[in-house]
Assembly symmetry: C2
Homo-oligomer: 403 residues x 2
């Protein structure tokens, strides 16, 4: 087992979002008193503040009542549900998908990511990964013994684009990267890729025969009327392309563990085989809940986006009033990636201080790339007032621990 020790040491979850109960407070010198206030867990959205799509549970109950026909679906998901989804995603993206050959239902988008990467990369393969980007991307690549080639996202310097370093991307492709993996809107910064950036990614991947995974988890929650560009709808695109989505975030259905992946039949076929040994299928009854997705009541999505944009604006105003704090305006999704001034403690320690002295949980920037030692991520899908109050407490502690 010792050969695996190093690999698993890189898969640490103690700072992963939602895992903060595992942290132990060792040898931090705390300054000042506790600042009392309502607990806010910014590591993920609060499904009590933003509730699941109405009728989600009713569809689950209907699923249970259908019995065996719903409990035991094909590994890639129940056919009738895939057919409905394929239609919804054809409308959403503007391009047709075959429910039979190009679609799989997975246990969450995490499941989809693992299956997609597991179907594309082997030991020693190079994988181009954006920094910063979703923390599990690098961990999955590590688990499969792949080599990570980072590609910078200059999100602060960008205007009306995500800021992907296209030169670095092409260099990574030239150097033999097999796979390019990116989230759009970007997690953690919330920037969205411009039409020109998507076109460049698509044509470079086609040119160098690179497989692409586009994690579009938050692509329904776009602010300020910005344009969102689907890579899968481009005329020129890579031969192997998988798009991932799920109803866990904007739609607050995380508790049902649902995700989908759609794209190249060859990869979908592999993902189904892999799902057959990883978890068999997304929970059968949960799959029934997908009926409510993209089928929300009139105005429900619009209201949700407006409410999140309003929280974003209030938090940004507070954060930008602090000397040395930088935050890019979130363009899509519920994340804010905040850069803070130098403190007397490390970012991992500051995260523990926030938890113990301010009753606030945030995710350290280092989860998204080793260089982000002065940043943290918050998910602002929270009770509006509680989020504002929590940011005020964070700001107090930034001042208290400022170098």
């Amino acid at each position: 087992m010792d050969l695996l020790n190093e690999k698993f040491s890189k898969l640490g979850v103690d700072n992963a979002p939602g895992q903060e109960s595992k942290q132990v407070e060792n040898e931090i010198v705390f300054l000042g008193e506790i600042i009392h206030g309502k607990a806010v867990d910014f590591s993920h959205g609060d499904v009590d503040a933003f509730e699941p799509i109405p009728n989600a549970m009713d569809e689950f109950i209907e699923g249970v009542k259908r019995g065996g026909a719903q409990a035991y679906t094909e590994y890639k998901g129940k056919g009738t549900i895939r057919e409905e989804l394929a239609k919804k995603f054809s409308t959403f993206t503007g391009i047709e998908f075959s429910a039979e050959e190009q679609f799989i239902i997975t246990p969450g988008t995490q499941g989809a990511l693992f299956l997609a990467l597991g179907s594309m990369i082997g030991r020693g393969d190079k994988v181009a990964i954006v920094e910063p980007d979703y923390f599990a991307n690098r961990k999955i690549a590590t688990f499969f013994d792949a080599k990570i080639v980072p590609v910078a996202l200059n999100y602060f310097e960008s205007d009306m684009q995500a800021g992907l370093d296209l030169k670095q991307l092409e260099d990574a492709f030239k150097a033999g990267a097999k796979v390019f993996l990116f989230s759009n809107p970007n997690n953690p910064t919330g920037v969205i890729y411009s039409p020109a950036e998507i076109l460049s990614i698509a044509s470079l991947a086609k040119k160098y025969d690179v497989s692409v995974i586009a994690d579009q988890l938050y692509s329904r929650q776009i602010f300020d009327g910005r344009k969102y560009t689907h890579l899968c709808a481009q005329d020129i695109k890579p031969d192997n392309l998988i798009t991932i989505m799920g109803p866990s975030k904007t739609e607050s259905l995380s508790g049902y563990r649902l995700g989908v992946a759609f794209g190249s039949p060859k990869v979908i076929d592999r993902m189904e085989k892999l799902q057959g040994i990883v978890s068999l299928r997304a929970g059968g009854y949960s799959q029934a809940v997908l009926k409510v997705w993209f089928n929300e009541p009139n105005g429900w999505m619009k209201d949700r986006i407006v409410a999140h944009q309003s929280i974003r604006d209030d938090l940004l105003e507070l954060l930008r009033s602090v000397k040395g704090v930088k935050a890019k305006t979130t363009e899509g999704g519920s994340y804010l990636f905040t850069e803070i001034p130098e403190l007397t403690v490390k970012i991992e320690e500051f995260i523990k201080i926030l938890k113990l002295q301010a009753n606030v949980i945030v995710t350290p920037g280092t989860e998204f790339g080793p260089q982000f030692i002065h940043s943290f991520r918050i998910n602002f899908s929270q009770d509006h007032q509680a989020a504002v109050d929590a940011i005020k407490r964070i700001i107090q502690l930034i001042e208290r621990y400022r170098k």
Copy 2:
């Protein structure tokens, strides 16, 4: 991607239980007419015939109502639920387990198996696997580039024991096997391992420092008052030992996708890390359903076992009346592994014939080991009369295609 082609070609799911809708009927010469009768899918249990534990859905609904606290659990599962489970399994196995360090909730036992193997084996490691045994065992080992060392189970020659070839087992360990993986009761034969066999496995694994995974999925459904022996409760046992169970079979909760694994803290810790990138967690709301497990109404389990034993007896009587058919008496679980005489068609073709001419789905023996070309597995957790009728149709077709 081409380097992965061979690996994925070995992960075929077309003959896997529940995937039969993927089969295409090519070039089989069908003899005679269709034998009409109620469709029976013997590839898995019928949760309409044997319904889930009462109140399972109510607990799910309570989980949904708890909101975020139930939707976002620790990766290894909600603490309070793990604590309840650890107590239940301490009682069940006769040995104490720590809910915090020795327990993980997974998306089905399939999820537990994948995580356990993924935490124990690296590329090129040898894994000792019983033949016949659960089909996914070999596929998971293949996916992780492990080398499979088969160990024979002489289930027909055995009496009051499973028939494991202990000489072969020790040879496999001597040859450097890192992991031994077995199901008890055995899937597909339904034999259970004797106290002496379990003692031998435990002490050999300890002696040769082999990690062990005991898949005890069906260990609550034991027939004829037979004694069941828990490997984890032995005095001498391997340092790395993981026991897997789940409520998907006897308890008919498959639609909720739940499993558990318990045992060595070091392995459980790795499994949690791996779960963090594979699927994050078992569905949060589903975890609430685990409250009803090992907490069934008085007499519910006993009735279920009696009903299954009765179906077993009727099917065995029918099968044994046929010349050339051999079937071991199921000692635990709902599987019957039936050996049939030589036919004019291959077993994979006969499986398709059964589906198309008799409206019956069974699983070919070759899913459980390449040598089982004259066997098929059925799960007899079905409507009693429908199962009897379906076996009669199978027998008619055995006669029709007999060489």
